[in-house]
Structures are given as C-alpha cells and as structure tokens.
C-alpha cells in the first residue's frame, strides 16, 4: 500500500468500527426493506434489491458474513417482498455455495468478471421467479422477464459501488 502512504493521513488508531461485522447483513436487510417503498406500478420491472445487495457484498468480499446467514436473510427478503416463502432462502444459500465453488477455480478477478457473474446470477434469479409464478398459476411469456433482467443488470454496478463505499466506511479505510 505505497499509495496509501502518500495520502498523508495517519492510519494508526483507525480500526474498524465495533459493529463492522454486522454492517453487510444490515445493508442487505435494508435493501430488502426497499420493497416497502410506496411505488405502485403495473409492471414488475424494479430489481430484486435484496439479492442485488447480497451478490454485491459476496462478489466484493469472500466473507461478508458467516455463510449460513444467507438463509435467514433470504427469509427476511421473502417476508418483505411477498415472494413465496422459501424462495430466497434456497436461492441465497445456493448462491453462497456456488460463488465459493467458483472462488476455488478462478485465479484472478476483475470488474468485468464480477459483472459477468452478476449477469448470470441475476438472470437465474429472475428466471426462477418466472418459473415459480408459472407453478402458482401465473404463466407469463418469457420475454416479459427481459426488461427486469436488463434493468437489474444495469443497476448492478451502482449497487456494487454503494456496497464498496459502505465497506470502506465500516472498516474506516
């Protein structure tokens, strides 16, 4: 960290906040709670904010929270958003597992790799929602899921940026 030495700020005594380990999980819950925004639309094109926050944190760091926390966080997301209960629990846990397996294979990462991973994960999330809606009696043509997928892919860099700022704040970097 040669460049950090040039900034002039002393780093002595600047340790992470005592609540730092809980900040990532709290931001994911806050993102899930965005479902309570007073937005009334006739199209479901807004991104799945909770899942966006989850993968943004997990792609930024390997250990934002103990991996089993994904299950209760998913339950909270299901309750706030009105998804069928168990959907986010299973999907978020599976995401943690899959990203760990990917971490073992990949030698290096850059922004484009992360975005590509996010594209795959967000497409899987929306496609599963579509499949689940069909199971529950709401069969829609698949092209109706294209706008929400594209929108959430475009929102991912913003979410990743916000998460990286929050990470820097909680670690007092």
């Amino acid at each position: 960290m040669v460049r950090a030495a040039l900034t002039g700020r002393t780093r002595i005594g600047r340790e992470p906040a005592p609540y730092a380990p809980y900040v990532p999980a709290v931001t994911v819950i806050a993102a899930s709670f965005l479902a309570a925004l007073p937005i009334v639309t006739n199209t479901g094109w807004y991104p799945d904010f909770g899942y966006l926050a989850l993968i943004s944190w997990r792609l930024l760091r390997a250990d934002p929270w103990p991996p089993w926390w994904a299950a209760p966080l998913g339950l909270i997301n299901d309750l706030f958003t009105g998804y069928p209960i168990g959907f986010s629990v299973a999907l978020w846990s599976a995401t943690m597992l899959v990203l760990d397996l990917i971490d073992r294979r990949t030698m290096w990462r850059d922004y484009w790799t992360e975005w590509a991973l996010a594209v795959v994960l967000l497409s899987i999330d929306q496609s599963l929602q579509w499949r689940l809606a069909a199971t529950m009696g709401a069969e829609l043509p698949y092209w109706s899921m294209v706008p929400p997928i594209v929108i959430s892919i475009c929102v991912f860099p913003v979410s990743a940026w916000v998460v990286s700022r929050v990470d820097a704040w909680r670690l007092r970097r």
Binding site: F33, A35, A36, L37, P38, I39, V40, T41, N42, T43, G44, W45, Y46, P47, D48, F49, A62, D63, P66, P67, W68, A70, A71, G74, L75, L79, F80, T81, G82, Y83, P84, I85, G86, F87, S88, V89, A90, L91, W92, S93, A94, M96, L97, D100, D103, R104, Q129, W130, L132, A133, T135, M136, G137, A138, E139, L140, S144, M145, P148
Partner: protein, 289 residues
C-alpha cells in the same frame, strides 16, 4: 468458507467443512419451505400477515409524504388558470345535475319494478376502506398493499373495489395492512360479461397491467374497441355489475382490456363481503399463492 485452502490446521478444516454443511442445510430448509408454501399456502398466513404489519405502515407513511409533495405541485398548478377551470367546472356541474335528476327518476322506476317482481336485493356490505400504498414492483406477480387489515374486519378472500371498478381480492391479511391480488395478475381469473349484450366472458390478467378477455362460447369475436367488461357474479366471490375494464385492442379470439381502476391512481379502495359468503372459504385454497 473464506479461503480454498485452510492449511494444516485441523480446526480450520473442520470449520470450513461445517460451514459448507450449514449452507447445504440452508438450501434444503429453503426448498422445504418453498414446497410447503406451494402445496399448502395457508400454512404461512400468520407469518406473512406479521411481515405486512411492518412493511404496510412504512409504505403508508412514505405514501403520505409523496402524496403531500405531489399535492403541493398539482395544487399550485391548479391556481395557474383558475378562471377558465372554474368556468369549465360550472358547465360540467350543470350538465351533471341534469343527468342526476334523470338517474334519480330511473332509480325510482327501477325500485318500483323490482317491488312488483318481488326481487330481493343483495346487500353490498362494505367492510373497510383503505388506500393502496404499495405494490409488488420487483416481481412478475401483480400484488398491491392496502392500508387496512384484520383490525378493520378484513379477511382473506374478500373482494376489493374502488369507485372506478374492480381492484382484486385479498390474499394476505395483517392486522393493519393487507395484500391484494390485482385483476391484472395472471393467476386472477374473473367471471365477467360484456356490458353491451351481456355475453359471458372470462377476464384474466396479463401481468403487465392489462387484462385478457375471452368469450366463453367459441365463435365470432364479440368484442369492439371501447366495450366495458363487468363482473357477472358467477362463482360467488365478486359482486355482480362491478365494472372491470375497457377493451383497447382486439386479437384473434379475444381482446386486451385496460382495468378501469388503475391501482396507481386509486385514492380509496373498498373491501366488501364476498358476494356469496361460502365462496370465501374455498377460493383462496385453490388459487391464492
């Protein structure tokens, strides 16, 4: 799960192994919950209602703020050309008064005719009124959040309407807020008929704010642009004669219609008793998620 190789520490190796087990357990529990909520949707009614008690009032409070802000702007805009607006409103009022006298006469005549036929009128019991404060804006399903709940007497399965037309029916009820399955949801099928001619049709949402309308009898396409679809009361859930939608586009064997009660612009929604109370008990079990 932090690193791929935990090193030679037996403790670190076990920690990695157990965290994998915990995640796999999370997936299994999630899948079990999901199957349960698909097979027996009623099993989570209490939990979902409790969650609505958290999100509903928040959405309601934020809705107040946005409504106030937008009200300030439209209120200021109304002053802009108040004189011409005033004249126009006066003209409308005179026309309305004339129509109202006609309507009152028709109402009286109708009452007399019904009395001679000895028809018994069904009571349209209004349970509660609420505002639509939120929606499922990040899901392919079409739900709305209503700012009234079981505390106001709302039960799952009750029909919801607004002064403009049918909104949907209650599928989750918390103490102070409830979730409405909108008529534009794909899983919401409403028995209806054409106002012009009374041909029985089926209205099914398309998931994007519009409604598919199909005639029950196969044959010539009976629809015209601008036709109004109203509920028929068949099935006993929705009361009859509630306007649903206006037809905007014809296709080969039916038509596409736009709901008359746009949830985004509906100021107040009215929750009513199911038309035939027996319908409320069996409908959610078959159709509600």
């Amino acid at each position: 799960m932090a690193t791929a190789r935990p090193g030679w520490s037996r403790r670190a190796q076990y920690g990695l192994f157990f965290s994998f087990l915990a995640v796999i357990a999370g997936i299994v529990v999630g899948l079990l919950l999901l199957v349960l909520s698909l097979v027996a949707p009623k099993s989570f009614n209490e939990v979902r209602g409790a969650a609505l008690n958290v999100t509903g009032p928040t959405a309601g409070a934020l809705h107040e703020v946005t409504a106030t802000v937008s009200g300030l702007f439209t209120g200021a805009g109304n002053y802009w050309d108040a004189a011409s607006q005033n004249a126009e409103l006066k003209r409308e009022r005179v026309a309305m008064l004339r129509r109202m006298v006609e309507a009152r006469a028709i109402l009286q005549e109708n009452r007399q005719l019904k009395a001679t036929l000895q028809l018994r009128e069904h009571e349209e019991g209004t349970i509660a009124t609420g505002r639509i404060v939120g929606s499922s804006f990040n899901s392919p399903r079409r739900f709305a959040i209503l700012s009234a709940g079981t505390g106001d007497g709302i039960r799952i399965g009750m029909p919801v309407r607004s002064p403009d037309g049918l909104v949907g029916r209650i599928i989750d009820a918390g103490a102070v807020a409830s979730r409405v399955l909108l008529v534009s949801d794909r899983a919401n099928i409403v028995p209806a008929r054409l106002l012009r001619g009374g041909i029985p049709v089926i209205a099914q949402g398309r998931g994007d704010g519009t409604i598919d309308v199909r005639p029950l009898e196969v044959g010539r396409n009976p629809f015209k642009r601008g036709d109004i679809i109203i509920t028929s009361g068949t099935g006993g859930l929705y009361p009859p004669l509630v306007p649903i939608a206006r037809i905007v586009k014809l296709d080969d064997d039916g038509a596409v219609a736009v709901p008359l009660a746009d949830p985004a612009n509906t100021s107040f929604a009215i929750v009513q008793l199911p038309f035939e109370p027996a319908a409320a008990t069996d409908l959610p079990a078959t159709e509600a998620p």
